[in-house]
Amino acid sequence: MSGGQDGDALVIDGLAKRFGGLSVLGSVALTVPRDAVFGVAGPNGAGKTTLLNIISGLLPADAGTITLFGEPCHHLRATALARMGVARTFQNIRLLRGLTVAEQVMAGGYRLRRVGAARGLAGTPRARAEQRDLRERAMEVLASVGLADAAGRLAETLPYGDQRRLEIARALMSKPRLLLLDEPTAGMNAADWAGIGELVAGLRRTGTAVVVVEHNMRLIQEICDQVAVLASGEVIACDVPARCLRRPEVRKAYFGK
């Protein structure tokens, strides 16, 4: 499905990417409506993470367009996209070393910090107020992912599942309009990822569009409105999860039948 309407969170058309002689993405097109939870599935090597890297501005595409809330942005890099309201997590958790849980989340709020260098250095009331607000919001976000009690701990001492949730909290801190989650349940047990599922489902009410790259089919079925299945760099199906997963081409891509 391409084309898209005004107000769609993300519209991708004709996206292609090559690494040397290898074509990783052929011609990808998809539309993520506002307030949706959109899944991206597919076997290993299908190009899912590359797609996410391009959307989040870490890689340039070789061809195609990307439109974010109506604004073309395929030429923008990560920092600019972050400022437009894109936030993401990573396949292998990337937490900043040496920071406590609270500090990690506060770092995620960088784009919210408006007070410039001069005022910040002088310690004006506005600067101090912003610091306070930031800390308050950080605690709220931590509470919403269930990590409020761990606020003062070093992030690297958290158990794996909590670290993943922390990374999501960090992404949520900046009030993103589009949240990209790269395999948020990888390596988790059922109890842990059920919690992630709830978290993501809860975001629907906040107006944040979510794109979830996942292997975990049950999670996709539970929380995604639509899922696009990627195989060998092409979108082979894009539909409601239940229907998608019954399609023969999808089963072939996964099980090779």
Binding site: S56, G57, L58, R77, A78, T79, L81, A82, R83, V86, A87, R88, F90, R94, L96, R97, G98, L99, T100, A102, M106, A107, G108, Y110, R111, R113, V115, G116, A117, G120, L121, A122, G123, A127, Q131, R135, M139, A148, D149, A150, A151, G152, R153, L154, T157, R170, S174
Partner: protein, 298 residues
């Protein structure tokens, strides 16, 4: 006898204070994840600019400090623009090259710098002035750490990719760190000149660069205060100890540096190590954990 001891102690303290400022100049770039040897180039720029203005234009100390800081900052901004886009290893090498080139420039600009002969520095620097300037620099860095820049610098250092996705303008942060390093280095250079009273092309060269790096290494890359401690050990101490160990001081410094790097690589001031220790102790007592949460909330 006591008088010379006191004088030596005094001198050691003075050099330690200036050494701390120079070390902080290098610390700032390390804060943003860049290893740079360029502080001595900034110091040279500041020192020779200031000395020239003090000699020819009758500048007093404070205007000279401003001019020196400005000179260092300008060089840093220019160098930063050229070098920031380099990968971190190449950047480090390029700053080594910068030191070499700076010395050559100093030797060749005889009118401004006195060439290989060097110049006498007309203005003396007092202890209280050193304390004041160091205090201001520390205050500045403490404030900076709590500002937006502090978060940005740490994020840039630890994970530039993740930092970019959080909206941190990585290149701009690194360039800013470089420029700040330049200003602080320039100021340090002026003060060093004021202590030495005579500067030549070798005053701000490899020996000083090595000392500065040693201070930062000892002090640890995770908190600016460490560099101050480092300066006491590698700059101040040798001045005082020199009376006992005339020769062979470099051997001691070398061994000390080696030992630190191998056994205490985080430096002596390592907030990360302390946090980890506190975590382990807190994990044993739930009261401790609750206290930490309360601390964050305050």
């Amino acid at each position: 006898m006591a008088a010379t001891q006191l004088a030596l102690l005094f001198s050691a303290i003075e050099f330690a204070l200036v050494g701390a400022i120079l070390a902080l100049s290098t610390y700032v770039t390390l804060w943003a994840g860049l290893l740079s040897f360029a502080t001595v180039s900034f110091a040279a720029t500041g020192a020779f600019t200031a000395t020239h203005l003090m000699s020819e234009a009758g500048f007093g100390l404070w205007p000279a400090l401003a001019a020196g800081g400005l000179g260092g900052g300008v060089l840093a901004a220019a160098a930063g623009l050229l070098l920031i886009r380099l990968d971190s290893h190449w950047l480090a090498l390029a700053t080594v090259a910068l030191i070499l080139v700076t010395r050559v420039v100093v030797v060749n600009l005889g009118d401004l710098t006195g060439g290989s002969e060097g110049r006498i520095v007309p203005v003396k620097v007092e202890l209280w002035q050193l304390v004041l300037v160091l205090g201001l620099v520390c205050l500045f860095l403490a404030r900076l750490a709590r500002s937006r820049f502090g978060t940005a610098a740490v994020a840039t250092r630890e994970d530039p990719t993740a930092a970019a996705t959080m909206g941190v303008p990585v290149r701009r942060v690194q360039t800013a760190a470089f420029a700040i390093s330049g200003v602080i280095g320039g100021i340090g250079g002026v003060l060093q000149a004021g202590l030495l009273r005579y500067i030549d092309p070798d005053s701000f060269y490899i020996d000083l660069a090595v000392t500065v790096i040693a201070c930062v290494v000892l002090g640890g890359a995770y908190h600016w205060f460490g560099s101050v401690i480092g300066a006491i050990v590698f700059t101040g101490l040798p001045v005082y100890v020199n009376q006992f160990i005339g020769q062979g001081q470099s051997i001691i410094n070398g061994v000390l540096l080696l030992v630190i790097m191998i056994w205490v690589p985080g430096g002596l001031i390592d907030p990360l190590r302390w946090r980890r220790l506190r975590e382990r102790r807190s994990a044993a007592s739930p009261a401790g954990a609750a206290r930490e949460v309360a601390e964050v909330r305050s």
